[in-house]
Amino acid sequence: MTTVHRDQTLFAQPALREGMRDMRAVSLGIAAWGLVTGVAMVKSGLSVQLALAISLFVFAGSAQLAVLPLIAAGAPLWLILGTAFCVNLRFVVFSAQMRPYFEHLPRLRRLVYGYLIGDLSQVLMIRRHPHPTGDPQQTHYFLGVSLANWIAWQVPSIIGILTAQHIPGAWGLAFAGTLALLGIVLSLLADRTIAAVIVVASALSALLFWLPLRLNLVAAIIGALMVGMAWEAWSQRQLASSGRLLDGTKP
């Protein structure tokens, strides 16, 4: 089968359509989050062109929202990118989980699929296909879920970017971006160790806010990771069990 032929038939695949349907059922939350991110980017001072470029290329809502206060404060690029990477580390876990599904694909396809990994597409994929078999149905399903996710995110995000300047600042819509981030933090709250990590990171970040260049973020992340690792080591010794570290990650 030639590449052209394969691509023409790809969109007729029932598995792809099934994926798009499953994502459409949960797309309202994504759309709201995308709209809020688009509005918040412009409301925090980015130009419309820059916000559009970030939305279309970066395609990572929580990282986009997380760097906004840093950009507004004039933080250096390395700190902005470092923060974005830390926020995105959950995708590193996802890429490890998706690896068995994509292993057999050529590299370019793997990279395209990897780029499309999102919080919800990953959850839906694992729920629908818990066991990777190398069946093309599985990758078609993932592509369907991911394309629907991309559309459900980008369209409201672009609408938000283009309409933000007509929304009065007094509505305080930039705060909606903070609320979206709060929701994501809470959704990561899987166990007591993560609760401790969140409390320590919040406290350190607020207490060290006087540091220049938003270095409070670096101190907060390092401090919270140290507390988390110490806590984990202590509870591991208590349980005297191991091997469930990555499995413990909530998707």
């Binding site: 709201a32 820059l50 970030i54 290329f57 970066v58 990572a60 929580s62 990282a63 929202l65 206060p69 950009i71 690029l77 990118l81 923060t83 990477f85 830390c86 926020v87 995105n88 580390l89 995708f91 590193v92 996802f94 890429s95 490890a96 998706m98 690896r99 994509f102 292993e103 590299r107 990279l111 990897g114 780029y115 705060f175 909606a176 903070t178 609320l179 981030l181 709060l182 929701g183 994501i184 933090v185 809470l186 959704s187 990561l188 993560i194 990590v197 969140i198 320590v200 990171a201 919040s202 970040s205 409070n216 907060a220 919270a224 990771l225 988390g228 690792m229 191991s242 990555l246 413990g248």
Partner: protein, 108 residues
């Protein structure tokens, strides 16, 4: 921001996205990870997001007194724990934010 900085920002953040989502897909070779790195992977997103959100809620309150944002966040968190769902969390938090701002303006 000058144009060059904007381009560097977009390119840099795109690289961050591609790198993080493809970390385990770039190569077919097995990639064993030390246990410490696995723990850091699990905690870092929550730590980074909390570190960004906390000062926004606790310190940066240009509109009205600090309890306005904090109160709205508590109500949004309450909604999240009761119902889950990001849409309702944002909506309930914004309604609370507007209500509390209005109260602080009227009573102060």
């Amino acid at each position: 921001m000058i144009l060059l900085q904007q381009i560097a920002l977009v390119v840099g953040m795109t690289v961050v996205t591609v790198l993080s989502r493809n970390m385990f897909l770039l190569s077919r070779k097995p990639m064993p990870l030390p246990a410490r790195v696995k723990i850091a992977l699990r905690f870092a997103p929550a730590a980074a997001l909390a570190a960004v959100v906390a000062p926004e809620l606790l310190l940066l309150t240009p509109l009205g007194p600090p309890w306005v944002k904090l109160g709205a966040a508590v109500i949004a968190a309450g909604y999240f724990f009761a119902r889950r769902g990001i849409l309702g969390t944002i909506l309930s938090g914004m309604v609370a934010y507007w209500a509390l701002s209005w109260i602080s303006r009227t009573w102060a």
